[in-house]
């Protein structure tokens, strides 16, 4: 059974959507329980919903700009709400990030003093980790949770450089945010590993600083190692350390779902995908989720 009291039942494993994923899931004979689909993709191409017919959907999102100063448009929030209803997603995963920023602060105003449209980065960026952002993120979280009437999960964004005006680490920020609001987490293990490599900390030790009991969903994907640091990579299999991290999170956490994100290459090997799924299943068998 996939759903249990409004949550996904224990130990479900899913795949992030790509055009080949629905057929792979149908042919996988129970190896995969659900597909994670971005709201932005459904909004742009609603036929993706039909292509996933018969497969439970978990909705993901990169539009709310929880960590930003510019509120998401009412129209977009309404559309997210609609897709939550249509997909019957048990929760909404959103990034702890900003995707838009106020343009007037760069001195750009339209004639007659009207503020210009905000900068739209089109990609989620981890915000400065300080008290100001913390309060703003908590307020945004409460506000969107109420409006959407669904459990909202916040995902840690990867850190590629030290953000100025940050006064706390990401784990401190997340822990305090969980105290300020009833936040549940989507822990992206690749993001955490990337941040550790780029900023310079031990990812296993950092796990101990996070409120693992708040983690409901986990993301796993690849990591691109470049001379200047580590980068997110959904086109290659995850390094082995991510499965050690998964095991550790599963020991203490209440994780309901693990999503493999291999959706950046339509040619991703089905054999490798099956191996990665088996590795997750193996880990889940070793450390059953009992919460």
């Amino acid at each position: 059974m996939l759903y249990n009291d409004g949550c996904l039942a224990d130990s479900v494993v899913g795949l992030a959507y790509s055009s080949t994923v629905p057929d792979f899931i149908r042919a996988s004979d129970g190896l995969v329980d659900y597909v994670e689909v971005p709201f932005e993709l459904l909004r742009h191409n609603p036929s993706v919903f039909d292509s996933c017919a018969g497969i439970p959907i978990v909705l993901h999102c990169a539009s709310l700009s929880i960590g930003g100063s510019v509120r998401c448009s009412d129209q977009t929030v309404t559309e997210i709400e609609d897709w939550l209803h249509r997909t019957e997603s048990p929760w909404l995963g959103e990034h702890l990030a900003f995707i838009t920023a106020a343009r007037e602060e760069a001195g750009e105003m339209l004639p007659e003093g009207i503020p210009a449209e905000p900068y739209d980065i089109g990609y989620t960026v981890s915000p400065p980790m300080n008290r100001h952002t913390l309060e703003r993120a908590a307020n945004n979280f409460e506000s969107y949770s109420q409006r959407l009437n669904v459990r909202l999960l916040l995902e840690n964004s990867p850190l590629y450089f030290q953000m100025p005006s940050s006064t706390m680490s990401q784990s401190e920020f997340v822990r305090e945010l969980c105290q300020l609001a009833d936040v549940n987490l989507l822990l992206d293990l690749a993001h955490l590993y990337i941040s550790a490599g780029n900023i310079g900390f031990d990812p296993m030790k950092e796990l101990e600083r996070l409120p693992l009991e708040k983690v409901l969903e986990i993301h796993i994907s690849g990591v691109d190692r470049q001379p200047d640091g580590l980068w997110d990579d959904h086109a290659n299999p995850a390094p082995d350390i991510l499965f050690k991290m998964l095991e550790r999170v599963m020991q203490d956490g209440r994780t309901r779902a693990i999503t493999l994100e291999y959706n950046w290459a339509s040619t991703f090997s089905r054999t490798v995908l099956s191996e990665q799924l088996e590795k997750v299943r193996e880990t889940l068998t070793r450390v059953p989720c009992t919460a």
């Binding site: 920023a101 760069a106 980065i121 089109g122 590629y160 980068w231 950046w264």
Partner: protein
């Protein structure tokens, strides 16, 4: 201050002109307490976002992508491309996917070409061009302007009538010379088994054309004589004039009737069309 940081970062990430002017960008970043080295990191991050936003375009160029990844230079390429490409049109839904693809492929072609023989990855340009020809060949309008003769009618025609036929290239046909065996490289990349040393050889010409019967792009190697003959065909010349021109250009030892087999074979393969009318 935190909002100002976000605004500056956002501007760096979406305005190519801003990132391309280190002084202006550095001054803004300095206001937000960024160090001088951070501009390069933000530039790379902008390249990374650009890379992610182009993931869906690689479906038509799988070997090119695999080769770029094999060399570990995907992020480098997108960081350079990002300085030219303005993401705002796409973010606003103004730029179409096709426009995006054309812009990106043109950039790659120019980028791989610009280094000349000093480029450490010479196979990239040829693999890109190979996949580009396949893609472009598929885009050519399918119906020929003039209905070509059937192969049976062609074989039955007398030599004197045959020579009066007008010969035109299939509208989808493209010819290009390669120094690497691009078909073999693409196959090796697909099997994740690329040889360590791939030698540069003498030029081989490949012909790309759309086979309407199988609804697929065909790629065949053509010999130098075929290449020369095809280069003389323009949709206006008759068979006789093409034969005359090729004999003048070095094939004088061959009797005119010996060329008939070439025209019939090329017609059967779909490389050329023969018709009583101009095309």
């Amino acid at each position: 201050m935190p909002q100002a940081v976000e605004t500056i970062i956002a501007r760096c990430l979406i305005e190519p002109g801003f990132l391309g002017k280190p002084r202006a960008a550095n001054e803004s970043l300095a206001q937000a307490d960024f160090g001088p080295a951070d501009l390069e990191k933000i530039r790379r991050f902008a390249g990374f976002i650009c890379k992610v936003k182009h993931n869906h375009l690689w479906g038509l160029f799988p070997a090119t992508r695999r080769l770029i990844c094999h060399y570990g230079i995907e992020l480098d390429i997108f960081t350079k491309y990002r300085l030219e490409h303005d993401p705002r049109a796409f973010n606003a839904g103004i730029e179409s996917v096709d426009d995006r693809l054309i812009s990106f492929i043109n950039f790659l072609d120019a980028h791989f070409s610009s280094h000349g023989s000093s480029y450490p990855y010479p196979m990239l340009l040829e693999v890109l061009r190979h996949e580009r020809f396949i893609w472009e060949t598929r885009l050519v309008p399918i119906a020929p302007a003039v209905q070509p003769m059937s192969s049976d009618d062609l074989q039955a025609s007398r030599w004197i009538d045959f020579q009066r036929l007008v010969v035109g290239l299939d509208p989808s046909l493209r010819l290009f010379g390669f120094h690497y065996d691009v078909q073999s490289i693409a196959a090796q990349l697909e099997e994740a088994n690329l040889e360590d040393e791939i030698p540069r050889g003498s030029e081989r010409v490949l012909a790309y054309y759309f086979d309407r019967h199988s609804d697929a792009v065909r790629v065949v190697e053509v010999d130098p004589i075929t290449t020369q003959l095809l280069s003389l065909i323009n949709g206006k010349r008759s068979v006789r004039r093409v034969i005359f021109a090729s004999r003048v250009l070095g094939l004088g030892h061959a009797r005119p009737v010996e060329f008939r087999e070439f025209f019939e074979d090329a017609h059967r393969f779909g490389l050329i069309k023969l018709s009583p009318e101009r095309m």
